[in-house]
């Protein structure tokens, strides 16, 4: 079982123990930095290449553009993605003629990720509260059963879950994509329970003396105190849900429920005969990835500092 330490509620602000005194400058240090710079270039270059290609003219790419800058600068890729170009214009530019319902996919992605995140985090918090701070018979046994759920790999439940979603008549709906992870994940329950266990009894008892019910304590005390871990979990859940591909691929068949990841795959295979519309594809890729990159820009510090104890997935 993975061990996860239970940091204080103010986890995200701290950066751990003080760094050791800097080692002496030397060749090793220079080599280390050279390696890290290489890692950074490899990490970031594909992002630049997406942007550079998205802003190029697709036909010019095929004509052999070796430039590190956009080849024959053009907004065409983005215009195809957002459906601004007419079918003929798109075909002339090397794209596919069919319109793509980009805004629909974006809306579906937002709906799914929001439903999954809001539901999963809230319901898992409720369960975690019951496991951490309420007293009831068989509490530990029930929790052990929940924890055992961590062992079941996602792949195994996907097929039976698809059958279930089909029986519920939810195939090709946004709800069908969101539902299986909307109510809980064992990890979310486990993660939040760790924090709730760490909250001191005294605060809680003071509230009870003043006549607050346990329900009120959960909403007015436990949830606000745990704002940091809850928002960390929410961000990570949102990113994971946004990037999900396999499950939405199984469940959605039409634009009605198609999310961005699945739509990207469809967009790619729309032109199997000729060369792909690389400019359009990279523009679509950029637009699909951008919301999470922006989310990261805003919450970078919190996300980076929380990876250490959010590790079990």
């Amino acid at each position: 079982m993975a061990t996860v330490t239970a940091p204080a509620a103010s986890d995200a602000r701290q950066t751990g123990p003080k760094p050791p005194p800097k080692p002496r400058f030397g060749v090793g240090r220079a080599l280390g930095w050279a390696f890290m710079i290489l890692v950074m270039i490899v990490s970031l270059f594909p992002f630049y290449w997406i942007l550079r290609t998205a802003l190029s003219d697709n036909n010019a790419l095929y004509a052999g553009g070796d430039s590190l800058l956009p080849v024959q600068f053009s907004w065409g890729g983005f215009e195809r993605v957002f459906g601004i170009q007419t079918g003929q214009e798109a075909i002339d530019a090397g794209g596919a003629g069919q319109p793509i319902a980009f805004w629909r996919y974006l809306l579906n992605s937002v709906l799914v990720a929001t439903m999954v995140t809001a539901g999963q985090v809230f319901f898992s918090a409720m369960a975690a509260y019951a496991f951490a701070r309420l007293r009831w018979r068989h509490r530990e046994q029930v929790f052990a059963v929940f924890l055992a759920g961590l062992m079941i790999p996602a792949i195994f439940t996907l097929l039976p879950n698809f059958v279930l979603i089909k029986e519920l008549g939810l195939v090709d709906t946004v709800l069908g994509i969101a539902l299986p992870s909307m109510l809980m994940t064992p990890f979310a329950v486990f993660f939040l329970r760790q924090f709730f266990l760490g909250i001191s009894r005294e605060v809680e008892e003071a509230a009870m003396v003043e006549g607050a019910s346990k329900t009120r304590i959960f909403f007015r005390l436990i949830l606000p105190i745990s704002a940091a871990p809850i928002s960390t979990l929410s961000i990570l859940t949102y990113i994971t849900s946004w990037n999900e591909y396999f499950w939405p691929l199984m469940v959605s068949y039409t634009d009605r429920s198609r999310v961005l990841t699945v739509a990207l795959g469809v967009f790619k295979s729309q032109k199997p005969q000729a060369g792909p519309d690389w400019a359009g594809l990279m523009a679509a890729t950029l637009v699909a990835a951008l919301p999470m990159l922006l989310l990261f820009l805003v919450f970078a510090r919190r996300i980076v500092n929380s990876i250490g104890f959010s590790g079990i997935k």
Binding site: P20, R29, S43, L61, L134, F246
Partner: protein, 306 residues
């Protein structure tokens, strides 16, 4: 509300008010989620593996037929072999790289921006990662191949040469995940007391020496946990294959999960697909169990706590 305020005793004492009803209310949504979308599908998946089922007509019990067929199916064994090959390449490269990155992050600078940059690829989906590298590694137009040509290496058909395809898919996933893994290891490094390094330096130990004698031994439990997570995760490779190669060329990148998907959704053999899922589950359980035992074996020399 009349709730007891005296010190907590484990389990409700006789006659004492406990929170059973409220607790039930609080775990109810999660419990429904657990029973309906985790426990029931698990049991059902095992049941379906003993049936012939195509979604349209009710499942028909066929005993061990699916398992017999699986044992005789060369494509299944090939898929298992391809998956293991992928996992080995992926884990070996990813763990080694992540370890180096984590140690460098600790020894050079602990600036958050550095960790943030390494994590950036993790924020995009596997689909995006696959598409970008499909483009960068394109045989004719890809910048990667142009650089290789300039360097005198010559072009490589990364995703259409059966010898290259699995290492390439592994490297694409390393690109996306190595930062995340590095941060997990980095978190483990933070638990090693800085005083140990100070003492080491006092004794005149070099950086490589300190890495061998301090970092590695104390990091072993963390590494074991990281390995379990990433091995279990990478056995479930699907997205990259589905986008980049669809199992090709021939069967050379037909990983187990992609084969399961094809059996279920292209040929509607849900029973057979379920049986292969059970096989994958068994493999994962064995690996987890073995690694867990190794973790336990490693806890004895853990000074700082995992």
């Amino acid at each position: 509300m009349a709730t007891p305020t005296r010190p907590v005793t484990p389990g409700p004492a006789k006659g004492a008010r406990d929170d059973t009803r409220l607790a039930l209310l609080f775990i109810l949504p999660a419990l429904i989620g657990f029973l309906v979308f985790l426990l029931w599908p698990t049991l059902r998946g095992i049941y379906l593996s003993f049936t012939k089922f195509n979604l349209l007509t009710p499942a028909r019990w066929t005993g061990l037929d699916n398992y017999v067929r699986m044992a005789q199916d060369p494509v299944f064994w090939n898929a298992l072999g391809v998956t293991v090959y992928y996992v080995v390449v992926n884990i070996a490269v990813q763990t080694a790289l992540a370890l180096v990155i984590a140690v460098l992050m600790q020894r050079l600078t602990r600036r958050t921006w550095l960790r943030g940059m390494v994590l950036t690829p993790y924020l995009v989906s596997n689909v995006v990662a696959a598409l970008v590298f499909l483009w960068i590694l394109d045989y004719q137009l890809g910048i990667g191949n142009k650089v290789l040509e300039l360097a005198g290496v010559g072009r490589i058909a990364f995703l259409s040469d059966s010898a290259w395809v699995i290492p390439t898919i592994a490297l694409i996933n390393v690109w996306r995940h190595v930062g995340y893994t590095a941060l997990l290891i980095f978190a483990g490094l933070q638990t090693i007391p800085a005083t140990l390094y100070e003492a080491g330096r006092m004794d005149g130990a070099s950086e490589p020496r300190m890495f061998r004698s301090i970092t590695l031994p104390l990091l072993r439990p963390v590494m074991a946990v990281v390995l379990i997570i990433s091995v279990v995760g990478s056995f479930q490779v699907f997205d990259t294959v589905a986008i980049a190669t669809r199992g090709g060329p021939v069967d050379s990148s037909r990983v187990l999960q992609y084969y399961i998907y094809e059996a279920a959704f292209n040929r509607f053999q849900f029973g057979y697909a379920s049986a292969m899922s059970v096989a994958l589950l068994v493999v994962l359980m064995i690996i987890t169990f073995v690694q867990y035992r190794l973790t336990r074996a490693g806890t004895s020399d853990l000074a700082a706590g995992g």
